[in-house]
Symmetry: C2
């Protein structure tokens, strides 16, 4: 019933001191170093309104992940029972898309300096979106 496959074209990549998956923090605010998002010149018009001192959502393609994994042991308790990957943030999953809330530090042309990004050096960037907080009035 599903169509596809669909083709993702990276719009940039991550420059980070993080090179090793085993040493990378599991979430961005658990000790990630500052990093750069480096965008392709072809998408520079789309970047014009990114502002320092705001948070944005960065979507990446976790190109070193496994795509054939459906159950994983929870990181908080590796000895515990496996969980379905759709209830975890494991990078290993059928479509290994990383979702990262990062703080924008500076915007220098097509280079954007960010904090709290746990993605590895060279990871493809596929999208950037503004944060929308959920409505609290329901």
């Amino acid at each position: 019933m599903t169509g596809g496959p669909y083709e993702l074209q990276p719009i940039g990549w991550v420059e980070s001191p993080l090179a090793d998956r085993e040493k990378a923090p599991k979430q961005g605010d658990e000790g990630s170093p500052e990093a750069w998002l480096v965008f392709e010149q072809g998408v520079s018009e789309g970047l014009g309104d990114l502002q320092p001192d705001t948070d944005v959502l960065v979507l990446t393609w976790l190109d070193r992940a496994r795509r054939d994994v459906l159950r994983v042991h929870p990181r908080s308790d590796p000895a515990n029972a496996e969980q379905g990957v759709f209830s975890t943030r494991s990078p290993d999953r059928p479509n290994p898309i990383g979702l990262h809330r990062v703080g924008v530090l500076s915007v220098e042309g097509t280079r954007v300096r960010v904090r709290d990004l746990e993605a590895l050096d060279g990871t493809p960037v596929i999208d950037v979106k503004p944060v929308i907080e959920p409505r609290l009035d329901r």
Copy 2:
């Protein structure tokens, strides 16, 4: 410098009364009807821990979007100046990935009933992730 393209394989699709982009709400909590996420049998092992009465993030492939758009008029003020798409939630963008925070109502095998999903009927589903609230202690 970027590799790719990368191949996204849908894991399911949306069943929703929403059929027309012009009539769909722009955000899920702005009057979306209840909808179903229907998953491929091949990923059912990954769904095992989804729980009713929780919120999850659903990632979709917005297959009716334009991919050649880098600047758009803001929805709140269409007469206003264009903004870069990466500062908006416009579906039209180089990689049209939809990010939806939805409430799980029930899980019935590979069919998951949700509220607050503004995606159109037939939209491919590409991932589901748990919500992780940002840390407030920084």
